[in-house]
């Protein structure tokens, strides 16, 4: 099992890789890879995922789990028996729960012994840096149009005007 992130950048099973990249890069790597649907895959994201509504793979092999606390994230990683585990990093989970950074990093590394584990973030932040220290590889892909430009992490809301319509079909309760 392998995922080609970009030409020349391939992620293999049995590794834990931390990836910083524009959302479009990770989305095209996941959406355009037919292997993702053939293997049992777990997508883990927080409450305000930027990728979830634009993830187009519809295979029944792809499963989802949404932890809303760092403790739940640890549980989700420990309980995952999937071939591919993709974690969309949510820094808000670690507000007041920095104590779990080390156990979660260790759990990611442990899971990466057998599965293909990807920890993804659009930009570097402190919790991500701590988790990535345990990764086999850290890959950072800059936006191609602006070399050297780091994408700032702006909020956690997923809504974008240029994005496809969000999955939710009714309005939120207010």
């Amino acid at each position: 099992m392998r995922i080609m992130l970009r030409k020349g950048i391939t992620l293999h099973q049995g590794t834990f890789t931390a990836v910083i990249a524009p959302e479009q890069v990770i989305l095209s790597a996941l959406n355009d890879n037919p292997d993702i649907g053939r293997f049992l895959t777990l997508f883990v994201c927080g409450n305000y995922s930027r990728l979830l509504t634009r993830f187009r793979q519809a295979s029944p092999n792809i499963e989802l789990r949404r932890p809303f606390t760092a403790d739940q994230l640890l549980t989700a990683i420990k309980e995952a028996g999937h071939t591919v585990i993709i974690i969309e990093h949510d820094p808000t989970l670690f507000d007041g729960a920095e104590r779990l950074l080390a156990p979660i990093a260790a759990a990611l590394r442990e899971a990466g012994r057998e599965a293909l584990v990807i920890l993804y973030a659009p930009a570097m932040d402190r919790p991500f840096g701590t988790l990535a220290r345990q990764a086999d590889r850290l890959i950072e892909i800059m936006p191609s149009d602006e070399p050297g430009y780091r994408q700032p992490y702006q909020g956690t809301r997923p809504y974008r005007h240029d994005a496809a319509a969000p999955a939710q079909k009714t309005l939120e309760v207010f």
């Binding site: 777990l42 409450n47 993830f55 793979q57 519809a58 029944p60 792809i62 499963e63 989802l64 789990r65 949404r66 932890p67 809303f68 606390t69 403790d71 739940q72 994230l73 640890l74 549980t75 989700a76 309980e79 104590r99 779990l100 080390a102 156990p103 260790a106 999955a167 939710q168 079909k169 009714t170 309005l171 939120e172 309760v173 207010f174």
Partner: protein
Amino acid sequence: MTQQLPHRKPWRCSDGKRAELPAIVWGGVKGMWILDSVGRDGVDLWYREGSVKCRHYDYDPPFYLWLPDPSAYHEMIDALGEQYRAGTCTFRTLSGDLSGFSVHAGRSVAEAIEQQTCGDAQLFNVDVRRDQRFMAEQRIFPCGETGGSRFSPDFPHDLRQVEIRIHDNPVRSAICTDVRLIHERTEVLQGTGQSVITDLFSLLEAIDPDVILMSQADLWMPRFQRYAGSRGLAMPFSRTGKYRRMDSRSYWSYGRMEHKDAALIPDGRVLIDTDQSFMYREGGLDGVLMAARLSGLSPNLASRFTPGTLISSYEVYEAVRRGIVVPFRKADAEKVRRFADLKEADRGGMMFQPVAGVYGDVDEIDFTSMYPSIIVNSNLSPESLGQTGREGFLASVLRPVVLLRRETKKKRKEDARYAGIDSLLKWMLVTCFGYTGYKNAKFGRIEVHEAITRKSREILMQTKDLAESRGFCVLHGIVDCLWVRGTGIDDLCAEVNRMTGLFVESEHFDWIVFLPLNDGGGAYNRYYGRLSDGSIKVRGIAARRHDTPEYIRAMQQEMLALMATARAPAELGEVRDGVYRVYCNAVRNLPFAPLPSLAISRRISRKTYAHRCIEGAAVRAYRDAGVDISPGMKIRYVVRDARTYRVDPEWTAERFDPSYYRGLLDKAWKEISYAFRWDGNDVCGEWKAQKVLESLHSAGRQEGYMPER
């Protein structure tokens, strides 16, 4: 006075067998009217028995520990046994019994265990407040006769109250110079700070109140403490001279940043910040006392907590009372699911978009406590979801609150004294649904949250179909409300009640205005209308918004008061000239408006702003004025020049930007004028009010004072 109480453990230890909860009926506690409680080196209960007295109880409850493989941590367990009397026991969690250990230690030890076990350990009852846990185990509660029911809306009390109104601004003044103290009479204290504070302290000492209602108490108390410390005075707010400290904090709540000031909480006396306490503003003293009764917290804390924290505390109290341990961390993640399942389940409440316009004879059908009632009726609880046969924890603890709300909602219509309690219950029940999906909810689960909204969507669709089958026209719907037009509303409500098992009420609008969105469609949450009792109900417009300057709010309220005289859409035409005159007067008088009436009140969400904006400028202005600000704090400012983003804090403002405020006036006017120029197909469809207004406008301009349009 110190008393030893037998400690009630959820489960008996050592032999591994479950023990029945001993029914302690302890004479020393029974029959007390508890005013305050303090968990400090045991538990202190302050109670009324003629005067207010204090009784201390030695109480050192353990927390509970479960390990997946205890043998892997045998050294740690041995150390816990030696240092913290750790012993084996079985305890009851929401999802079943667990065999583990009881440890007589505090939170720091619990956190050290977490660290050492790398998150493998599950801990319980670590962060339950000691006094709350004590009262829950003893089945007593604050603010009521302990033999009575917590769920009764009638709890007479003879608490001695005093109200302190401080007219100085705590942000600007370190000391107060103008104070009103209201008890049997009103004392006016004015003068130098020293004399005012000395007099205030003396009066409090003499009156010896049980309850102090004080404006900006949480901001003034640290100043009083500093002043008293520097002058060697004794602060008389606490009956022991001791104060508990609550730290200030900023936090996200329902998508916006909130701020809570640090607080000094006295012993043996209830101190309520009448400006900052949401529960007091909404529910008054009775609301705060009822919150304390339900949650098992001191009224001092109940007045400072949000409705969400109160409902969570109520659930904790109930769990402890039932012998269920409370998890320290929320580690049980959502179950693994497929994408398609998530898309199907993860939706909010149902909304029907209205067609913007003015409608006559409309009924609003409102489900009372819809979400909590769904939890109760459908037995939705984290541990019982998908199971049948036994009532879940959440459903069983919410049932008495839902019933109590129905009772108070009915009673408040006849007796205004129940309004505060009803308001408190409303807020607690509103938040109980959100808490099922909240990340820190002790007894929440996202699947329960989704099940509730799914059921609510079904109910609203069923109700819509039923209404339409009976000839009603459904104009609008928001989650738990429907606006319909037709005849036989009482029969419809009765049928909905029978069909859904939920309690519904209706309100009749003589006319209602659904405002448009920019794209011309109807706005979901911006409307106003005249109820059959002659009052006006508004939602989402300037008169209702918190950040509207008082000058503009007053203008819109005056317009609405005029419109309230119209009993039907057709009669609105008779008041349109008067309403327009209100607008013209407001525009004409704008240059002379008092500056405080133009202050905009906002809650800031951050301390630094990347882009130039009015809010960012206001934060800078506050900082320049020497005010320490935190995210979530409320600020009040006057816009001096919107074009160059210049604003002033309310107290330093000397001039304002007329064109900016004119823009706000026009916006508020637009919301009202829509009712006159709407030319749809309804009874008021043929109006050409706009033309009339325009002719008025041009006439006015000739006189030289009418506003630009």
